[in-house]
Protein backbone atom coordinates (compact mmCIF):
# COMPACT_ATOMS: atom_id res chain seq x y z
CA UNK A 1 0.00 0.00 0.00
CA UNK A 2 1.25 3.47 -0.67
CA UNK A 3 1.75 4.80 2.83
CA UNK A 4 4.23 7.42 3.87
CA UNK A 5 6.54 6.10 6.60
CA UNK A 6 9.41 7.70 8.55
CA UNK A 7 12.94 6.58 7.72
CA UNK A 8 16.40 7.69 8.81
CA UNK A 9 19.06 8.46 6.20
CA UNK A 10 22.05 6.21 6.89
CA UNK A 11 24.14 6.61 3.74
CA UNK A 12 24.37 8.75 0.63
CA UNK A 13 24.65 6.11 -2.10
CA UNK A 14 24.95 8.17 -5.28
CA UNK A 15 24.63 11.96 -5.08
CA UNK A 16 24.53 12.34 -8.88
CA UNK A 17 21.62 9.94 -9.22
CA UNK A 18 20.05 11.25 -6.00
CA UNK A 19 20.06 7.86 -4.27
CA UNK A 20 20.34 7.37 -0.51
CA UNK A 21 20.00 4.45 1.84
CA UNK A 22 17.37 4.81 4.57
CA UNK A 23 16.60 2.74 7.63
CA UNK A 24 12.91 2.07 8.19
CA UNK A 25 12.32 0.22 11.44
CA UNK A 26 15.58 -1.72 11.09
CA UNK A 27 15.30 -2.51 7.37
CA UNK A 28 17.64 -0.61 5.03
CA UNK A 29 16.83 0.15 1.41
CA UNK A 30 18.00 2.52 -1.26
CA UNK A 31 15.50 5.19 -2.23
CA UNK A 32 15.48 8.28 -4.41
CA UNK A 33 16.03 11.65 -2.73
CA UNK A 34 15.56 13.57 -5.98
CA UNK A 35 12.54 15.43 -4.56
CA UNK A 36 14.69 16.79 -1.72
CA UNK A 37 17.67 17.68 -3.92
CA UNK A 38 17.67 21.33 -2.82
CA UNK A 39 17.05 20.55 0.85
CA UNK A 40 20.62 19.71 1.88
CA UNK A 41 19.95 16.19 3.11
CA UNK A 42 22.54 14.56 5.36
CA UNK A 43 23.09 11.26 7.11
CA UNK A 44 21.02 11.16 10.29
CA UNK A 45 18.14 13.18 8.83
CA UNK A 46 14.65 11.71 9.05
CA UNK A 47 12.50 11.65 5.92
CA UNK A 48 8.99 10.61 4.92
CA UNK A 49 9.29 7.65 2.51
CA UNK A 50 6.61 6.92 -0.10
CA UNK A 51 6.90 4.45 -3.01
CA UNK A 52 10.68 4.56 -2.97
CA UNK A 53 11.01 8.35 -2.67
CA UNK A 54 11.83 10.74 0.14
CA UNK A 55 8.94 13.23 0.06
CA UNK A 56 9.85 15.61 2.87
CA UNK A 57 12.24 15.99 5.77
CA UNK A 58 10.67 15.24 9.13
CA UNK A 59 11.38 18.19 11.35
CA UNK A 60 12.14 16.93 14.87
CA UNK A 61 11.52 20.29 16.47
CA UNK A 62 8.09 20.57 14.85
CA UNK A 63 7.32 16.99 15.85
CA UNK A 64 8.07 17.87 19.47
CA UNK A 65 5.92 21.01 19.15
CA UNK A 66 3.03 18.92 17.83
CA UNK A 67 3.24 16.54 20.78
CA UNK A 68 3.32 19.56 23.06
CA UNK A 69 0.21 20.96 21.38
CA UNK A 70 -1.53 17.61 21.76
CA UNK A 71 -0.77 17.60 25.49
CA UNK A 72 -2.07 21.16 25.85
CA UNK A 73 -5.31 20.36 24.03
CA UNK A 74 -5.89 17.40 26.29
CA UNK A 75 -4.92 19.39 29.34
CA UNK A 76 -7.83 21.84 28.99
CA UNK A 77 -10.26 19.28 30.28
CA UNK A 78 -7.93 17.84 32.90
CA UNK A 79 -7.14 21.33 34.25
CA UNK A 80 -10.82 22.14 34.45
CA UNK A 81 -11.50 18.98 36.43
CA UNK A 82 -8.50 19.63 38.70
CA UNK A 83 -9.70 23.18 39.31
CA UNK A 84 -13.20 21.96 40.08
CA UNK A 85 -11.84 19.33 42.45
CA UNK A 86 -9.81 21.95 44.28
CA UNK A 87 -12.78 24.20 44.87
CA UNK A 88 -14.24 24.55 48.31
CA UNK A 89 -16.79 27.28 48.31
CA UNK A 90 -18.16 26.66 51.75
Amino acid sequence: MCLGIPGRVVQMVDTEQYLAKVDVNGVQRTISVRLLADDGLSVGDWVLVHVGFAMAKIDEAEAALTLDQVQKMGADYVNEIDAFNSSSIN
Partner: protein
Protein backbone atom coordinates in the same frame (compact mmCIF):
# COMPACT_ATOMS: atom_id res chain seq x y z
CA UNK B 1 9.21 3.40 16.11
CA UNK B 2 10.25 6.99 16.18
CA UNK B 3 7.72 9.54 14.88
CA UNK B 4 5.05 6.85 15.19
CA UNK B 5 4.80 5.52 18.75
CA UNK B 6 4.72 8.85 20.51
CA UNK B 7 1.77 9.87 18.31
CA UNK B 8 -0.20 6.86 19.53
CA UNK B 9 -0.04 7.50 23.26
CA UNK B 10 -3.38 6.27 24.70
CA UNK B 11 -3.40 8.59 27.71
CA UNK B 12 -2.94 11.62 25.49
CA UNK B 13 -5.67 10.30 23.21
CA UNK B 14 -8.12 9.95 26.10
CA UNK B 15 -7.40 13.46 27.30
CA UNK B 16 -7.86 14.82 23.79
CA UNK B 17 -11.18 13.03 23.42
CA UNK B 18 -12.44 14.58 26.65
CA UNK B 19 -11.44 18.04 25.40
CA UNK B 20 -13.15 17.36 22.10
CA UNK B 21 -16.33 16.28 23.89
CA UNK B 22 -16.29 19.52 25.91
CA UNK B 23 -15.74 21.66 22.83
CA UNK B 24 -18.43 19.93 20.81
CA UNK B 25 -21.00 20.35 23.56
CA UNK B 26 -24.59 19.82 22.47
CA UNK B 27 -24.06 20.64 18.80
CA UNK B 28 -23.46 18.13 16.02
CA UNK B 29 -20.54 18.12 13.64
CA UNK B 30 -19.71 16.22 10.47
CA UNK B 31 -16.11 16.33 9.30
CA UNK B 32 -14.98 14.76 6.04
CA UNK B 33 -11.55 13.36 5.35
CA UNK B 34 -10.39 12.99 1.77
CA UNK B 35 -7.46 10.68 2.17
CA UNK B 36 -7.43 6.89 2.08
CA UNK B 37 -4.66 6.89 4.64
CA UNK B 38 -6.90 8.78 7.06
CA UNK B 39 -9.80 6.37 6.44
CA UNK B 40 -7.47 3.52 7.22
CA UNK B 41 -6.08 5.04 10.44
CA UNK B 42 -9.53 6.03 11.65
CA UNK B 43 -10.90 2.54 11.29
CA UNK B 44 -7.76 0.74 12.38
CA UNK B 45 -7.51 2.64 15.67
CA UNK B 46 -11.27 2.82 16.26
CA UNK B 47 -11.21 6.61 16.32
CA UNK B 48 -14.88 6.88 15.41
CA UNK B 49 -15.71 4.94 18.55
CA UNK B 50 -13.49 7.16 20.70
CA UNK B 51 -15.18 10.33 19.50
CA UNK B 52 -18.41 11.52 21.13
CA UNK B 53 -21.64 11.07 19.20
CA UNK B 54 -21.66 14.80 18.54
CA UNK B 55 -18.71 14.41 16.17
CA UNK B 56 -19.12 12.27 13.08
CA UNK B 57 -16.33 11.47 10.63
CA UNK B 58 -17.34 11.01 7.01
CA UNK B 59 -15.12 9.34 4.44
CA UNK B 60 -14.76 11.08 1.12
CA UNK B 61 -13.21 10.19 -2.25
CA UNK B 62 -9.66 10.01 -0.95
CA UNK B 63 -8.66 6.60 -2.20
CA UNK B 64 -7.12 6.99 -5.67
CA UNK B 65 -7.53 3.26 -6.26
CA UNK B 66 -11.23 3.37 -5.39
CA UNK B 67 -12.08 6.08 -7.90
CA UNK B 68 -10.66 4.31 -10.97
CA UNK B 69 -13.67 3.34 -13.12
CA UNK B 70 -14.06 -0.21 -14.39
CA UNK B 71 -13.35 0.81 -17.98
CA UNK B 72 -9.84 1.97 -17.04
CA UNK B 73 -9.22 -1.32 -15.24
CA UNK B 74 -10.29 -3.08 -18.44
CA UNK B 75 -7.72 -0.97 -20.31
CA UNK B 76 -5.07 -2.08 -17.81
CA UNK B 77 -6.07 -5.71 -18.34
CA UNK B 78 -5.84 -5.15 -22.10
CA UNK B 79 -2.26 -3.93 -21.72
CA UNK B 80 -1.36 -6.80 -19.41
CA UNK B 81 -2.70 -9.31 -21.90
CA UNK B 82 -0.67 -7.95 -24.82
CA UNK B 83 2.01 -10.40 -25.95
CA UNK B 84 5.50 -9.37 -24.89
CA UNK B 85 4.27 -6.94 -22.21
CA UNK B 86 5.36 -6.99 -18.59
CA UNK B 87 2.66 -5.09 -16.70
CA UNK B 88 3.86 -3.57 -13.44
CA UNK B 89 1.55 -2.20 -10.76
CA UNK B 90 1.21 -1.25 -7.11
CA UNK B 91 -0.26 -4.02 -5.00
CA UNK B 92 -3.62 -2.41 -4.32
CA UNK B 93 -4.60 -2.30 -7.99
CA UNK B 94 -4.18 -6.01 -8.49
CA UNK B 95 -7.55 -7.08 -7.12
CA UNK B 96 -9.67 -4.20 -8.42
CA UNK B 97 -12.38 -5.75 -10.59
CA UNK B 98 -12.89 -4.71 -14.19
CA UNK B 99 -15.68 -6.17 -16.31
CA UNK B 100 -13.56 -9.26 -17.08
CA UNK B 101 -12.01 -9.91 -13.68
CA UNK B 102 -8.88 -8.39 -12.21
CA UNK B 103 -5.13 -8.28 -12.81
CA UNK B 104 -4.41 -11.21 -10.51
CA UNK B 105 -6.80 -13.34 -12.54
CA UNK B 106 -5.13 -12.13 -15.74
CA UNK B 107 -1.83 -13.19 -14.24
CA UNK B 108 -3.27 -16.61 -13.41
CA UNK B 109 -4.30 -16.89 -17.06
CA UNK B 110 -0.70 -16.27 -18.16
CA UNK B 111 -0.24 -12.50 -18.36
CA UNK B 112 3.07 -11.22 -16.98
CA UNK B 113 1.77 -8.98 -14.18
CA UNK B 114 4.26 -7.95 -11.51
CA UNK B 115 3.84 -6.12 -8.25
CA UNK B 116 6.27 -3.22 -7.71
CA UNK B 117 6.80 -1.00 -4.69
CA UNK B 118 8.03 1.99 -6.68
CA UNK B 119 7.85 3.25 -10.28
CA UNK B 120 11.66 3.12 -10.16
CA UNK B 121 11.37 -0.65 -9.65
CA UNK B 122 9.24 -0.77 -12.82
CA UNK B 123 11.95 1.13 -14.72
CA UNK B 124 14.51 -1.38 -13.50
CA UNK B 125 12.33 -4.21 -14.85
CA UNK B 126 12.45 -2.46 -18.23
CA UNK B 127 16.24 -2.16 -18.06
CA UNK B 128 16.55 -5.83 -17.10
CA UNK B 129 14.19 -7.00 -19.88
CA UNK B 130 15.19 -5.08 -23.03
CA UNK B 131 13.27 -7.45 -25.31
CA UNK B 132 9.94 -6.83 -23.51
CA UNK B 133 7.61 -3.86 -23.34
CA UNK B 134 7.24 -2.80 -19.71
CA UNK B 135 4.19 -0.76 -18.71
CA UNK B 136 3.70 0.86 -15.30
CA UNK B 137 0.16 1.41 -13.97
CA UNK B 138 0.52 4.85 -12.41
CA UNK B 139 -2.19 5.64 -9.84
CA UNK B 140 -2.37 8.04 -6.93
CA UNK B 141 -2.94 11.68 -6.09
CA UNK B 142 -0.28 14.37 -6.01
CA UNK B 143 1.60 12.37 -3.37
CA UNK B 144 2.56 9.75 -5.90
CA UNK B 145 2.65 11.72 -9.15
CA UNK B 146 6.09 13.27 -8.45
CA UNK B 147 7.57 9.79 -8.19
CA UNK B 148 6.21 8.95 -11.65
CA UNK B 149 7.62 12.29 -12.84
CA UNK B 150 11.14 11.52 -11.59
CA UNK B 151 10.92 8.07 -13.16
CA UNK B 152 9.98 9.59 -16.54
CA UNK B 153 12.92 11.99 -16.40
CA UNK B 154 15.26 9.12 -15.51
CA UNK B 155 13.87 6.92 -18.29
CA UNK B 156 14.58 9.68 -20.81
CA UNK B 157 18.04 10.26 -19.37
CA UNK B 158 18.84 6.59 -19.85
CA UNK B 159 17.37 6.48 -23.35
CA UNK B 160 15.02 3.63 -22.44
CA UNK B 161 12.72 2.68 -25.32
CA UNK B 162 10.77 -0.26 -23.89
CA UNK B 163 9.12 1.54 -20.97
CA UNK B 164 5.77 3.34 -20.83
CA UNK B 165 3.31 4.62 -18.26
CA UNK B 166 -0.46 4.05 -18.15
CA UNK B 167 -1.27 7.25 -16.34
CA UNK B 168 -4.24 7.39 -13.94
CA UNK B 169 -3.04 10.06 -11.55
CA UNK B 170 -5.79 12.25 -10.15
CA UNK B 171 -5.73 15.61 -8.36
CA UNK B 172 -7.25 16.44 -5.00
CA UNK B 173 -8.89 19.85 -5.45
CA UNK B 174 -11.60 18.98 -8.03
CA UNK B 175 -13.23 16.20 -5.98
CA UNK B 176 -13.24 18.41 -2.88
CA UNK B 177 -14.99 21.06 -4.93
CA UNK B 178 -17.43 18.47 -6.30
CA UNK B 179 -18.26 17.38 -2.76
CA UNK B 180 -18.80 20.98 -1.64
CA UNK B 181 -21.07 21.57 -4.64
CA UNK B 182 -23.07 18.45 -3.93
CA UNK B 183 -26.50 19.03 -2.39
CA UNK B 184 -26.36 15.68 -0.62
CA UNK B 185 -24.03 16.68 2.17
CA UNK B 186 -23.96 19.18 5.01
CA UNK B 187 -20.39 19.17 6.27
CA UNK B 188 -18.93 21.20 9.14
CA UNK B 189 -15.36 21.04 7.88
CA UNK B 190 -12.56 18.97 6.37
CA UNK B 191 -9.56 17.00 7.51
CA UNK B 192 -7.03 17.79 4.78
CA UNK B 193 -4.85 15.12 3.16
CA UNK B 194 -1.52 15.06 4.97
CA UNK B 195 0.78 13.55 2.37
CA UNK B 196 -0.75 15.19 -0.71
CA UNK B 197 -0.07 18.43 1.15
CA UNK B 198 3.66 17.71 1.47
CA UNK B 199 3.66 18.18 -2.31
CA UNK B 200 1.00 20.83 -2.97
CA UNK B 201 1.31 22.83 0.27
CA UNK B 202 -1.64 24.66 1.82
CA UNK B 203 -2.54 27.28 -0.77
CA UNK B 204 -4.68 25.05 -3.06
CA UNK B 205 -7.21 24.59 -0.24
CA UNK B 206 -7.86 28.29 0.39
CA UNK B 207 -11.06 28.15 -1.65
CA UNK B 208 -12.60 25.86 0.97
CA UNK B 209 -12.89 28.52 3.70
CA UNK B 210 -12.88 31.51 1.36
CA UNK B 211 -15.53 30.39 -1.13
CA UNK B 212 -17.47 27.73 0.78
CA UNK B 213 -17.02 28.92 4.36
CA UNK B 214 -15.80 25.60 5.75
CA UNK B 215 -12.68 25.19 7.92
CA UNK B 216 -9.95 22.75 6.96
CA UNK B 217 -7.13 21.26 9.03
CA UNK B 218 -4.39 19.37 7.21
CA UNK B 219 -3.86 16.30 9.37
CA UNK B 220 -1.14 13.74 10.03
CA UNK B 221 -1.80 10.01 10.07
CA UNK B 222 -1.34 8.85 13.61
CA UNK B 223 -4.31 8.71 16.01
CA UNK B 224 -3.14 11.75 17.97
CA UNK B 225 -2.79 13.71 14.72
CA UNK B 226 -6.37 12.99 13.76
CA UNK B 227 -7.76 13.74 17.20
CA UNK B 228 -5.75 16.95 17.41
CA UNK B 229 -7.04 17.98 14.00
CA UNK B 230 -10.65 17.38 15.06
CA UNK B 231 -9.92 19.52 18.12
CA UNK B 232 -8.50 22.27 15.92
CA UNK B 233 -11.57 22.20 13.66
CA UNK B 234 -13.91 22.50 16.63
CA UNK B 235 -11.79 25.29 18.09
CA UNK B 236 -12.01 27.21 14.82
CA UNK B 237 -15.77 26.90 14.80
CA UNK B 238 -16.06 27.96 18.46
CA UNK B 239 -13.72 30.91 17.86
CA UNK B 240 -15.69 31.99 14.79
CA UNK B 241 -12.64 31.45 12.58
CA UNK B 242 -12.66 29.77 9.19
CA UNK B 243 -9.28 28.98 7.66
CA UNK B 244 -6.83 26.37 6.46
CA UNK B 245 -4.66 25.21 9.34
CA UNK B 246 -1.73 22.80 9.35
CA UNK B 247 -1.62 20.19 12.10
CA UNK B 248 1.01 18.11 10.27
CA UNK B 249 3.73 20.74 10.73
CA UNK B 250 6.50 18.18 11.15
CA UNK B 251 6.21 17.29 7.45
CA UNK B 252 3.96 19.75 5.60
CA UNK B 253 5.43 23.12 4.60
CA UNK B 254 2.96 25.83 3.51
CA UNK B 255 4.63 26.09 0.10
CA UNK B 256 4.73 22.31 -0.44
CA UNK B 257 7.58 20.69 -2.36
CA UNK B 258 8.44 23.09 -5.18
CA UNK B 259 10.91 20.68 -6.77
CA UNK B 260 8.21 18.02 -7.01
CA UNK B 261 5.72 20.51 -8.45
CA UNK B 262 8.24 21.66 -11.06
CA UNK B 263 8.99 18.11 -12.17
CA UNK B 264 5.27 17.39 -12.39
CA UNK B 265 4.66 20.43 -14.59
CA UNK B 266 7.36 19.20 -16.99
CA UNK B 267 6.12 15.62 -17.27
CA UNK B 268 2.33 15.85 -16.94
CA UNK B 269 -0.53 17.77 -18.48
CA UNK B 270 -4.09 18.09 -17.18
CA UNK B 271 -6.74 16.00 -18.87
CA UNK B 272 -9.74 18.13 -19.84
CA UNK B 273 -11.92 15.73 -17.83
CA UNK B 274 -11.75 12.29 -16.25
CA UNK B 275 -14.35 9.86 -14.98
CA UNK B 276 -14.33 9.24 -11.23
CA UNK B 277 -16.11 6.20 -9.96
CA UNK B 278 -19.18 7.42 -8.10
CA UNK B 279 -18.65 11.10 -8.94
CA UNK B 280 -18.98 10.98 -12.70
CA UNK B 281 -16.89 13.15 -15.03
CA UNK B 282 -14.93 15.91 -13.33
CA UNK B 283 -13.08 18.46 -15.42
CA UNK B 284 -9.34 19.03 -15.02
CA UNK B 285 -9.15 16.40 -12.32
CA UNK B 286 -6.56 14.01 -13.72
CA UNK B 287 -3.12 13.96 -15.27
CA UNK B 288 -1.90 12.58 -18.54
CA UNK B 289 1.65 12.28 -19.80
CA UNK B 290 2.94 15.60 -21.20
CA UNK B 291 3.34 15.76 -25.01
CA UNK B 292 7.10 16.23 -24.44
CA UNK B 293 7.15 12.73 -22.97
CA UNK B 294 4.65 11.19 -25.40
CA UNK B 295 7.06 8.39 -26.20
CA UNK B 296 6.54 7.12 -22.66
CA UNK B 297 2.74 7.31 -22.77
CA UNK B 298 1.19 3.82 -22.93
CA UNK B 299 -2.00 5.33 -24.36
CA UNK B 300 0.08 6.57 -27.35
CA UNK B 301 2.14 3.41 -27.73
CA UNK B 302 -0.76 0.99 -27.62
CA UNK B 303 -4.25 1.39 -29.07
CA UNK B 304 -6.43 1.07 -26.04
CA UNK B 305 -10.07 -0.06 -26.09
CA UNK B 306 -11.03 2.97 -23.95
CA UNK B 307 -14.56 1.67 -23.39
CA UNK B 308 -16.63 3.20 -20.65
CA UNK B 309 -18.15 0.57 -18.36
CA UNK B 310 -21.00 1.35 -15.97
CA UNK B 311 -20.72 0.13 -12.40
CA UNK B 312 -22.72 -3.01 -11.49
CA UNK B 313 -26.27 -2.10 -10.49
CA UNK B 314 -25.84 -3.43 -6.98
CA UNK B 315 -22.74 -1.34 -6.39
CA UNK B 316 -23.19 1.72 -4.20
CA UNK B 317 -19.51 2.73 -4.15
CA UNK B 318 -20.42 6.15 -5.49
CA UNK B 319 -22.56 6.97 -2.48
CA UNK B 320 -19.93 5.64 -0.08
CA UNK B 321 -17.21 7.68 -1.78
CA UNK B 322 -19.27 10.85 -1.41
CA UNK B 323 -19.90 10.08 2.22
CA UNK B 324 -23.67 9.94 1.64
CA UNK B 325 -23.95 6.44 3.07
CA UNK B 326 -21.77 4.48 5.44
CA UNK B 327 -20.25 1.16 4.34
CA UNK B 328 -22.75 -0.88 6.34
CA UNK B 329 -25.63 0.95 4.68
CA UNK B 330 -24.70 -0.42 1.27
CA UNK B 331 -27.13 -3.15 0.25
CA UNK B 332 -24.42 -5.62 -0.70
CA UNK B 333 -21.94 -4.86 2.07
CA UNK B 334 -20.71 -8.02 3.75
CA UNK B 335 -22.98 -10.26 1.70
CA UNK B 336 -22.25 -10.21 -2.02
CA UNK B 337 -19.42 -7.74 -1.51
CA UNK B 338 -16.59 -8.74 0.82
CA UNK B 339 -12.81 -8.36 0.66
CA UNK B 340 -12.57 -11.86 -0.79
CA UNK B 341 -15.30 -11.24 -3.39
CA UNK B 342 -15.35 -7.48 -3.93
CA UNK B 343 -17.92 -5.95 -6.23
CA UNK B 344 -16.67 -2.40 -5.97
CA UNK B 345 -13.41 -0.66 -5.31
CA UNK B 346 -14.34 0.61 -1.84
CA UNK B 347 -13.98 -2.99 -0.73
CA UNK B 348 -10.89 -3.90 -2.71
CA UNK B 349 -8.36 -1.34 -1.64
CA UNK B 350 -7.21 -1.53 1.99
CA UNK B 351 -7.72 2.24 2.03
CA UNK B 352 -11.31 1.99 0.84
CA UNK B 353 -13.93 2.82 3.44
CA UNK B 354 -15.67 -0.55 3.11
CA UNK B 355 -12.54 -2.68 3.39
CA UNK B 356 -11.32 -0.61 6.32
CA UNK B 357 -14.65 -0.92 8.06
CA UNK B 358 -14.95 -4.64 7.29
CA UNK B 359 -11.49 -5.36 8.63
CA UNK B 360 -11.42 -3.09 11.64
CA UNK B 361 -14.67 -1.42 12.58
CA UNK B 362 -17.36 -4.00 12.05
CA UNK B 363 -17.14 -6.13 15.16
CA UNK B 364 -17.05 -3.11 17.45
CA UNK B 365 -20.15 -1.59 15.88
CA UNK B 366 -22.08 -4.83 15.79
CA UNK B 367 -21.30 -5.43 19.45
CA UNK B 368 -22.33 -1.91 20.36
CA UNK B 369 -25.61 -2.34 18.52
CA UNK B 370 -26.20 -5.66 20.27
CA UNK B 371 -25.87 -4.09 23.70
CA UNK B 372 -28.07 -1.21 22.55
CA UNK B 373 -25.45 1.42 23.26
CA UNK B 374 -25.39 3.45 20.07
CA UNK B 375 -28.37 4.10 17.80
CA UNK B 376 -28.01 3.67 14.03
Amino acid sequence: MKFVDEFRDPAAARALVRSITELAGDDEFKFMEVCGGHTHTIYRHGIEHLLPQSVELVHGPGCPVCVIPMGRVDDAMFLAEQPNVIFTTFGDMMRVPGSRGNLIEAKARGADVRFVYSPLDALKVALDNPDKQVVFFAVGFETTAPSTAVTLVRARQLGVTNFSIFCNHVTIVPPIKAILESPDLRLSGFLGPGHVSTVVGLRPYRFVPEVYGKPMVVAGFEPLDILASVHMLLQQIRDGRCEVENQYIRVVRPEGNTQALKLMSETFALRPHFEWRGLGFISQSALRIHPDYADFDAEERFSMPGVRVADPKACQCGEVLKGVIKPWECKVFGTACTPETPIGTCMVSPEGACAAYYNFGRLHRETALLVGRRPE
